[in-house]
């Protein structure tokens, strides 16, 4: 019943790992050929693979794990998806119904364990309910603000000896769940009035634009208004970063001009971002002179961390459509923004080329220049997946994205180990696209067993390992806040990555001086059908700048080890 439903629901791939309580389901998978199962080496990787797939395609990722440790191993991946609102359905085996509560072998109350990190969860009470429960799970995971849904399936619910009639439920109706639709027209009118009058406006787009497939409308709005455009970390790609109206992303390590512009603006129009602490810095000092318009599909995101002048609950797509048509109707000139643009260009010019010094010839490379070189060799068209840490920020800062869904990173939870499996999930479903994992030796080691899965299924991702032989972001904070006492941030006894990668049948390369950078990268990306791991030795002393000053306003930033605003 489960596999038939998944096939009817259009699921092509599921990611998982078998075990006792899931064996009936695995047997059913074995006896059909519509839904392909990818066997990972650790259940956490299954969730990240499904997650990466969902981020790149907009479709829900599907995971299958067994009870107990299988399910608890999946928890980190479920939490990662929850924090970034990624649609995912996780099917967990469970011990037989009559054993539940008796501390049976491999029993865990996974509904209880995952309760705070799922959009919703279900437990199957009767085999006949399976199609409708799964339909509801997919419906909830993919509509409104998306999120992960866990379905707990006791082993006796899938016993092959019992037969039930299967009908694919085409529709689902739940009295307690109605995703929001269009925004309130009066509120949208108010927002448009503010846009008509603003002298120092800024458009601020979030991951909701990418998830809500409304980036084109967002770009139309930006073009029509000629407002500067910034995004959150999750919103990267919602607006072409090489366009002249793009002023970079904002927040703790956001661009100098975006953070300055936010602070000095008189109108912030935020669509599909949730003003989290890494984006706002101290909320009491946040954008002191600005009126704030906040559009979100989730009412609880509005007013959660900052005061909002014009709240609009609705899908990004519908609200943008309404804003655009209203702007077509209104009369009157908007204020001239040339002074505001001049100010932003001055901010931009004051920082350009001053954030780091590229290494030359035989010096240790700067991680920033490696990312820039990757951008060049992939012509800015790759799907870029990252882990978490300094390399993640450098990738976000120096790889410029012109299209949505191509920047794939764990923004909310900040999960080290996310990168490799997520990149695999993207590549498997987008075999013709270039998929690059930019990682660090710390994060990579958290999920490196998946190199084996890559061999089994032939998944030729490109891995750029920014190897600084230390936990760079931790080290940076220790430099700044703990007088450079590097407690446990130095990774001793690193493996010989070259040998390790080759032992799985992949290709490994190494770069330890700037002179080789471009040539080796060219060579690596030319090997289309091979997984290539490029171990790049970078300067371990490098810090990520700009960096907002803790508890400061948006404009308070460290610009280098010695300068600050």
């Amino acid at each position: 019943m489960i596999t038939r439903f998944l096939a009817d629901e259009g699921v092509e791939y599921m990611y998982g790992y078998p075990g006792g309580a899931a064996l009936h389901i695995y047997d059913a998978i074995h006896r059909q050929d519509k839904v392909h199962h990818v066997l990972v080496r650790h259940e956490q990787a299954a969730t990240h693979m499904a997650d990466g797939y969902a981020r790149a395609t907009g479709k829900p990722g599907v995971v299958l794990v067994t009870s107990g440790p299988g399910a608890t191993n999946a928890v980190t991946g479920i939490a990662t998806a929850y924090m970034d609102s990624i649609p995912m359905v996780v099917l967990c085996g469970q011990v037989m119904s009559h054993l539940i509560g008796e501390d049976a072998f491999q029993e865990t109350d996974i509904i209880g364990v995952t309760r705070p990190i799922v959009k919703h969860s279900f437990s199957i009470k009767h085999p006949a309910d399976i199609p409708m429960v799964l339909k509801k799970a997919f419906h909830i995971a993919t509509t409104g603000r998306p999120g992960p849904v866990v379905v707990d399936i006791p082993k006796d619910m899938t016993a092959p000896t019992e037969k039930y009639e299967y009908v694919y439920p085409k529709k689902v109706k739940m009295r307690s769940y109605t995703p929001v639709g269009r925004g309130h027209s009066g509120q949208i009118k108010k927002a448009v009035d503010l846009m008509q009058k603003a002298k120092r406006p800024i458009l601020f787009g979030g991951g909701g634009l990418v998830l809500g497939e409304s980036t084109e409308l967002f770009q139309q709005l930006a073009k029509k208004l000629n407002f500067p455009v910034t995004t959150s970390l999750m919103g990267i790609g919602a607006y072409p970063q090489t366009d002249k109206q793009s002023i970079g992303w904002l927040g703790m390590h956001g661009s100098f001009e975006a953070n300055q512009a936010m602070h000095h603006s008189d109108l912030v129009v935020c669509i599909g971002a949730r003003f989290d602490d890494r984006a706002t810095n101290n909320t009491a000092k946040f954008c002191p002179t600005a009126k704030i318009v906040h559009v979100d599909v989730d009412p609880s995101s509005i007013g959660k961390t900052i005061r909002v002048d014009v709240p609009i609950v609705g899908t990004a797509k519908s609200v943008l459509e309404d804003m655009l048509s209203l702007l077509d109707e209104v009369e009157g000139e908007r204020p001239d923004l040339s002074e505001w643009w001049k100010q932003i260009e001055d901010w931009h010019a004051s920082r350009t080329g001053r954030l780091y010094e590229p290494a030359e010839e035989n010096e240790a490379m700067k991680p920033q220049q490696v990312v820039e070189a990757v951008w060049k060799v992939t012509k800015g068209q790759a799907y870029v997946v990252t882990d978490v840490g300094q390399h993640q920020m450098f990738a976000a800062q120096y790889y410029l994205f012109d299209k949505p869904n191509r920047w794939i990173t764990s923004g909310g939870l900040g999960t080290m180990g996310f990168g490799l499996p997520a990149a695999m999930g993207v590549k498997l479903n987008k075999p013709d696209e270039e998929v690059v994992l930019i990682t660090g030796e710390g994060s990579f080691q958290m999920m490196m067993q998946e190199l084996s899965t890559c061999s089994q299924y032939g998944i030729p991702v490109k891995i750029i390992n920014l190897n600084n032989q230390s936990l760079g972001m931790v080290r940076q904070w220790q430099d700044l806040n703990y007088a450079s006492r590097h407690a446990q941030s130095y990774v001793e006894s690193l493996p010989d990555f070259q040998k390790l990668v080759e032992s799985y049948g992949h290709v490994a390369m190494k770069i330890d001086k700037a002179d080789d950078l471009d040539a080796v990268l060219e060579k690596a990306f030319a090997l289309k059908d091979k997984l290539v791991f490029v171990d790049v030795y970078v300067d371990p002393r490098e810090h990520v700048y700009p960096m907002q000053v803790p508890q400061g306003s948006m404009k308070d930033m460290l610009l280098s080890k010695t300068e600050r605003t």
Binding site: R115, R175, S176, P299
Partner: protein
């Protein structure tokens, strides 16, 4: 400020834990909690009293509304409403105290519902303030056991919380 939030939710396994879990997960406060099925057996009615400023109460109602099992809710303190709580209390009742306890119970319009030669068990319904006052009037040296149901409430007039 104190608020009484009344919730209609699906009468399903785990629904209550989602509501209670939400409060601890998001650092909200539960002062009292009261839950029982309604005339429609598929629905439970849950009443929670909580404290917080406007911003926190707004978050509480929004987050509760987001739970899939929550069908509808109302913040009763936004309008005219009636709140009631029931108290069962077991007190020492010997000698002169015996008559005194009985008089106090009558003044508060409570009922003595169980009697032994040395003990009265008293039932009293009212708003939380009345129950507090009664417990104070009895005095702590007579109290043996106190059980309160937590607040339940309903809007005054024609307002109805139903599907």
């Amino acid at each position: 400020m104190r608020h009484i939030i009344s919730i209609l939710m699906e009468n399903e396994a785990g629904a209550l834990s989602r509501v209670v879990g939400l409060f601890s997960q998001r650092n909200f406060n539960i002062e009292t909690l009261n839950v029982a099925p309604t005339d429609d057996p598929t629905l439970s009615r849950l009443t929670v009293t909580t404290v917080g400023d406007d911003r926190i109460i707004e978050q509480i109602t929004k987050q509760l509304n987001k739970l899939i099992d929550v069908v509808k809710l109302v913040d009763l303190t936004e309008g005219q409403h009636i709140e009631r709580e029931m108290l069962l209390v077991k007190v020492k009742a010997v000698g002169a105290q015996r008559a005194e306890v009985k008089r106090t119970t009558e003044i508060f319009r409570g009922q003595i519902i169980d009697v032994t030669p040395s003990i009265y068990t008293i039932q009293l319904a009212g708003d939380a303030g009345k129950l507090d006052a009664f417990i104070n009037a009895l005095g702590s040296n007579t109290l043996l056991e106190v059980v309160r149901t937590g607040v339940s409430g309903i809007a005054r007039g024609e307002k109805v919380l139903s599907l």
